[in-house]
C-alpha cells in the first residue's frame, strides 16, 4: 500500500538509522543524505514525497535547504531540530516547512506525524481540496459558504470566513501568524497579532463548544494557529 519515497537528511548516521527504522512501514523506500548539498541533489533527482530534514547540517543551514527545496518541490518537509525555540519554528514554517519536531523525538510520534502528512498528500491528490466538512455537530461548507452548528445556521463575517477558510485548507498544519495574515488580508502590514486575535476569538465563540478549551482552532504559542482536524 505504501508507495511513497522518503528522504532522510541528517549528518548523524545513528539518527538516520533510527528514523529509517521508524518509517520502514510508512514508505516503499527510504533514501538518505548526510549534508545539505546532497539533500538538495537527491530531492531534485528522486522527487521524494516527504523529507525529514535535520537542521544541524555540517555544510549549510537547514533553513536554507528547506527554502531551496521549497522553490521547486511540493514535497512535504518535516524538520527535526535540537533547538526548541519558537522563533526558529516560525522561521522554518515561513520558509516552507510543513511540520516541526524537536529532538529527542518519540519515534511513535514521528511515525504518526509522517502518516498524517502522507494521508493529506494522498487525499488532496484523489479528491482535491475539501470544501464540505462535517465535524461532530458542526458542518462547514466552504464553497457556499455556510456554517451550521447542531443544524442551526451561524453567521460569520467576511473576515471570519477568510480566516476559517485559510485554516481549514491547511488543516492539521500550523499556520504562522504571518502566513495566516497574508492569506486573509493579502499583505503583511498592520498589527497582525491583535487583528488575528480579535477574529480568532470571535470565530471560536461561534464554532467551539468551549471557547476557553478550543478543540478546532488551536493556538500554537508563539507560532500561530492550527485547525485541528483529521482529514
Amino acid at each position: 500500500m505504501a508507495s511513497e519515497l522518503i528522504l532522510v537528511v541528517d549528518d548523524e548516521p545513528q539518527i538516520r538509522r533510527v528514523v529509517r527504522n521508524s518509517l520502514a512501514d510508512e514508505a516503499s523506500r527510504v533514501i538518505e543524505a548526510a549534508n545539505g548539498a546532497s539533500a538538495i541533489d537527491l530531492a531534485a533527482a528522486e522527487r521524494p514525497t516527504l523529507i525529514i530534514l535535520d537542521l544541524g547540517l555540517p555544510d549549510m543551514a537547514g533553513i536554507d535547504v528547506c527554502r531551496e527545496i521549497r522553490q521547486w518541490s511540493t514535497a512535504t518537509i518535516i524538520v527535526l531540530s535540537a533547538r526548541h525555540s519558537d522563533g526558529e519554528k516560525v522561521a522554518l514554517l515561513d520558509a516552507g516547512a510543513d511540520d516541526y519536531m524537536t529532538k529527542p523525538f518519540n519515534p511513535a510520534e514521528l511515525r504518526a506525524r509522517v502518516r498524517a502528512q502522507l494521508r493529506r498528500v494522498r487525499l488532496s491528490e484523489v479528491v482535491g481540496p475539501t470544501e464540505i466538512l462535517d465535524l461532530d455537530d458542526l458542518s462547514i461548507d466552504l464553497a457556499k459558504p455556510s456554517l451550521k452548528k447542531a443544524g442551526v445556521a451561524i453567521h460569520l463575517t467576511k473576515t471570519e470566513w477568510a480566516v476559517l477558510r485559510a485554516l481549514v485548507r491547511h488543516a492539521g498544519r500550523t499556520m504562522t501568524h504571518q502566513q495566516l495574515f497574508h492569506d486573509v488580508w493579502g499583505n503583511t502590514y498592520g498589527d497582525m497579532h491583535s487583528l488575528l486575535r480579535v477574529h480568532i476569538r470571535s470565530l471560536r465563540r461561534k464554532i467551539e463548544g468551549d471557547p476557553v478549551r478550543p478543540r478546532l482552532i488551536v493556538t500554537e504559542p508563539g507560532v500561530g494557529y492550527r485547525f485541528e482536524h483529521e482529514l
Binding site: 548523524e12 545513528q14 539518527i15 533510527v18 528514523v19 527504522n21 521508524s22 544541524g56 535540537a82 533547538r83 526548541h84 519558537d86 529532538k103 529527542p104 523525538f105 518519540n106 519515534p107 511513535a108 463575517t157 467576511k158 473576515t159 498592520g190 498589527d191 497579532h193 491583535s194 487583528l195 486575535r197 480579535v198 477574529h199 476569538r201 471557547p211 476557553v212 478549551r213 478550543p214 488551536v218 493556538t219 504559542p221 508563539g222
Partner: protein, 371 residues
C-alpha cells in the same frame, strides 16, 4: 568636561564684566582727549565695536547693559551741551536712538548666532554619545549572539546522542524488552534536565521577553491543551472572572505558558489522586493574576521561599518525583524576566496556590482593528 569648563567660566564672569566696562571707560577717555576732532559717526563706531565685542564674548545681557551705558556716555560726553543729558540739536536724538537700536540688534543677532552654535555643539556631543551607546549595544548584541551560539551547540551536542538513545530504546521496548522502557524514561529525564539548564542559563544571561498584549483565556486554553493527558486522573478546572469579559495582559505568551505548564505539572505531582487542580485568571488592580491551586499537602512555612531556589527539593511529597529541582526557580525567573512575579500562598482549606502577577492591559489601551 564641558560642564566643568562652564562652571569655571561662571566663576570669572564678574571679572569679564568688569573688563568690558573698563574697555568702555578707556575708549571713552581716549575719545574725550580728541573730542574736538570727532563727529558722531566716530563715536558711534567706537562704541559699537565695544558693545559688539561684549555681546560676542559675554552674551546678550552684557551687550545690552553695555549698550545702555554707552548710550548714556555718548549723550553725556560727546553730544553738546557736554556734561548733561540734554541735547541742543534734536537731530542728535536720531543719532543716539540709531546707536542704541544698532547695538541692541547686533547684541541679539550675535546672541542668536551663539545659541545656534551651542545647539550644534550639543548635537555633536549627543551624536558622540549615541555612537558610543550604539557601539556598546553592538558589543552586547555580539556577546548575546555568541552566548546563543554556545547554547545552541551545547543543546545540539547533548540532544543528538539522547535522540539515538531514546529512539533505540523505543525500538527495543516495542520489541518487548521492558528494561528499554526505563532507558527511554531516563533519556527523557536527562533531556528535561538539559532543557532546564539551558533555560536557567538563558534567564541568567538576560533573555529578552517578547511582551505583547495577550488574552488570559487564550493562555489558559493553551496551558490546558498542553497538559492534557499529563495530569493522570486529576481534573483540571478553568475559572475566569465572569465580570471581566476580556482579560488582557502584556506578557510573553510562550514563556508564560511554560510557567503555567510547569506549575500545573507540579500541582499534579503533589495532588492526591482524583484531586482537582484549579487554573484561574483575574484582574487585581494593575495586575493580571494567574493562579494554579491544588489540594496537595502544601509547603511548610520554613520552605516557602526555598522552593524557588535552584536545585532545592521539597522534603514532603512523593519520593519518585524525578527532577533536578529547577522547575520553580525557572518559573519564577521567567515571570520576573517579564516584569512580573511568582509567589506562593497557603490555600484556604488546605493545599497550595501559586500566583503569577503580570501587567494587566485595559481594552481601551489597545488599538485593535476589526471589521
Amino acid at each position: 568636561m564641558r560642564i566643568a569648563l562652564r562652571r569655571a567660566h561662571g566663576g570669572v564672569r564678574a571679572l569679564e564684566i568688569a573688563a568690558w566696562f573698563a574697555a568702555l571707560g578707556i575708549v571713552t577717555a581716549a575719545m574725550l582727549e580728541v573730542r574736538s576732532r570727532l563727529n558722531e559717526a566716530h563715536v558711534t563706531l567706537a562704541y559699537l565695536l565695544v558693545v559688539q565685542g561684549a555681546s560676542a564674548r559675554g552674551g546678550r545681557p552684557l551687550g545690552m547693559l553695555l549698550a545702555a551705558v554707552a548710550f548714556l556716555c555718548f549723550d553725556w560726553f560727546f553730544l553738546p551741551p557736554y556734561g548733561t543729558f540734554a541735547l541742543s540739536d534734536p537731530m542728535n536724538w536720531l543719532v543716539l536712538l540709531a546707536f542704541l537700536a544698532t547695538s541692541l540688534v547686533s547684541a541679539q543677532l550675535l546672541y542668536r548666532a551663539r545659541a545656534e552654535a551651542e545647539v550644534a555643539r550639543k548635537h555633536v556631543a549627543e551624536l558622540d554619545l549615541l555612537a558610543g551607546v550604539a557601539a556598546e549595544s553592538r558589543a552586547l548584541q555580539e556577546s548575546h549572539r555568541a552566548k546563543d551560539a554556545v547554547l545552541a551547540s551545547v543543546s545540539h551536542d547533548l540532544r543528538t546522542p539522547l535522540t539515538t538513545i531514546k529512539a533505540l530504546a523505543h525500538e527495543m521496548s516495542e520489541a518487548g524488552d521492558e528494561r528499554a522502557v526505563i532507558v527511554e524514561q531516563e533519556a527523557d529525564r536527562l533531556n528535561r534536565f538539559v532543557a532546564d539548564m539551558l533555560d536557567l542559563s538563558r534567564i541568567s544571561s538576560g533573555m529578552i521577553p517578547d511582551l505583547q498584549p495577550n488574552e488570559a483565556d487564550d493562555l489558559l486554553g493553551a496551558a490546558a491543551q498542553r497538559v492534557s493527558g499529563r495530569l493522570g486522573d486529576r481534573e483540571l478546572q478553568i475559572r475566569l472572572d465572569p465580570a471581566e469579559p476580556i482579560l488582557l495582559g502584556r506578557f510573553d505568551f510562550a514563556q508564560t505558558l511554560r510557567v503555567l505548564v510547569n506549575l500545573l505539572e507540579n500541582a499534579a505531582k503533589y495532588s492526591p489522586s482524583h484531586g482537582t487542580i484549579e487554573l484561574a485568571a483575574f484582574r487585581d488592580g494593575p495586575n493580571l493574576c494567574l493562579t494554579v491551586s491544588d489540594r496537595g499537602p502544601g509547603i511548610p512555612a520554613s520552605e516557602r521561599e526555598l522552593v524557588f531556589e535552584p536545585f532545592y527539593r521539597r522534603s514532603t511529597g512523593p519520593p519518585d518525583v524525578g527532577g533536578a529541582g529547577l522547575g520553580l526557580s525557572i518559573a519564577r525567573g521567567l515571570a520576573e524576566l517579564q516584569g512580573g512575579s511568582l509567589s506562593y500562598e497557603v490555600r484556604d482549606g488546605g493545599g497550595s496556590v501559586f500566583t503569577i502577577r503580570l501587567k494587566a492591559v485595559s481594552i481601551g489601551e489597545l488599538s485593535d482593528g476589526s471589521d
